[in-house]
């Protein structure tokens, strides 16, 4: 290994040892493991340790769940919302006529039928209204701009 520092060689040795010792406990029978008990910790203390860790783990898991819920809520709040407003055909026809009438005063090329809004079927009014809305001819609330 080059360099002035042996990169984590000792740590790797300790890791290997830790793994081997832990695996040995894993492979030990129940009788062996109870005979193994670390001298400085009784079974009652170990059980208390496990119970404490379990309770803390459950608490942390609940917090994580709340955190995720809060994050989703924040994301939903930040997302742009579009409220669908139902506008009647008559209202659409009225608004279109007003917009056309206003425009007519500026541009005389608009046809007479369109100016008067007569003879235009309802489904065409729907399409015209949507097109005009997309073009921003109405104000933010659907009012004429």
């Amino acid at each position: 290994m080059g360099g002035c520092l042996m990169p984590r060689k000792t740590q790797e040795e300790l890791d290997r040892l830790a793994q081997a010792l832990a695996e040995e406990l894993l492979d030990a029978s129940d009788e062996e493991i109870l005979a193994y008990l670390d001298a400085n910790c009784s079974l009652a203390e170990m059980r208390a340790k496990i119970e404490h860790a379990m309770e803390a783990g459950i608490r942390a898991a609940k917090k994580a769940k709340l955190f995720n819920a809060r994050r989703e809520l924040d994301a939903a709040k930040e997302a742009p919302t579009r409220t669908a407003t139902v506008i009647s055909i008559e209202e659409k026809r009225k608004r279109l006529q007003k917009t056309i009438s206003d425009a007519n005063s500026k541009d005389s090329r608009i046809t007479l039928a369109a100016r008067e809004g007569k003879g235009v079927p309802d489904e065409d009014i729907d399409g015209l209204f949507d097109d005009a809305n997309d073009l921003g001819l109405f104000g933010p609330d659907g009012e004429d701009s």
């Binding site: 793994q19 010792l21 894993l26 193994y36 670390d38 079974l43 783990g57 995720n68």
Partner: protein, 191 residues
């Protein structure tokens, strides 16, 4: 579609809780013992156990417990994974965010500065020396200890120390018990 199949392969959350609430004395000792062997500076056995339970018991994306796996091997796998992640300094975005918001009770962050690395290595050297010194006057155990650290297999250790498989098992138990007593919370130099 997979609900029935997955409930067969893995314990359901309520079954996990049931099993943990009825944990045997041997498994209590096993889990604590394993957590103590795998703990290290900055990641105590208590932290490790707590993080392990959190991962197993969390409701969203928990570590699922396969039905064909005993409690010991399953928890060993979870703890080992946490320690590896900690050593590599990896953390998921969610963990980082949780820490930022002080939601996580256990901090799994690790300092990777050059100074911290040097300090870690110095501490590891000290721990290694202390550990080897525990077996002064017990050359058999010292050989086994150093052989394990060097990565020798069981067969190689038997040949190296000129002992049988059974004798090796006895020596390893001696090593394990003595280290467990001297380092009750993993590889920390003030042990």
């Amino acid at each position: 579609m997979d609900a029935a199949a997955s409930s067969v392969e893995y314990y359901l959350p309520e079954e996990v809780l049931e099993r943990l609430n009825a944990i045997s004395d041997a498994d209590v000792a096993r889990l604590v013992g394993i957590s103590r062997r795998l703990a290290r500076s900055g990641l105590s056995s208590d932290d490790l156990l707590q993080e392990t339970f959190k991962r197993v018991l969390e409701t969203e994306k928990p570590r699922r417990w396969p039905r064909d796996l005993d409690l010991g091997p399953f928890f060993f796998g979870v703890m080992h994974s946490i320690v590896s992640t900690y050593c590599k300094g990896l953390a998921t975005k969610a963990q980082v965010r949780e820490r930022e918001l002080h939601l996580a009770e256990v901090s799994l962050s690790r300092d990777f500065s050059f100074e911290a690395e040097l300090a870690d290595e110095a501490e590891a050297d000290h721990i290694r020396a202390t550990m080897v010194a525990l077996f002064d006057g017990d050359s058999e155990a010292k050989d086994v200890l150093e052989g394990i650290m060097d990565g020798w297999t069981g067969q190689e250790l038997c040949e190296l120390c000129d002992v049988s498989k059974e004798q090796l098992a006895t020596i390893k138990r001696r090593v394990n018990r003595r280290i467990g007593k001297a380092f009750p919370d993993g590889w920390v130099s003030n042990a």
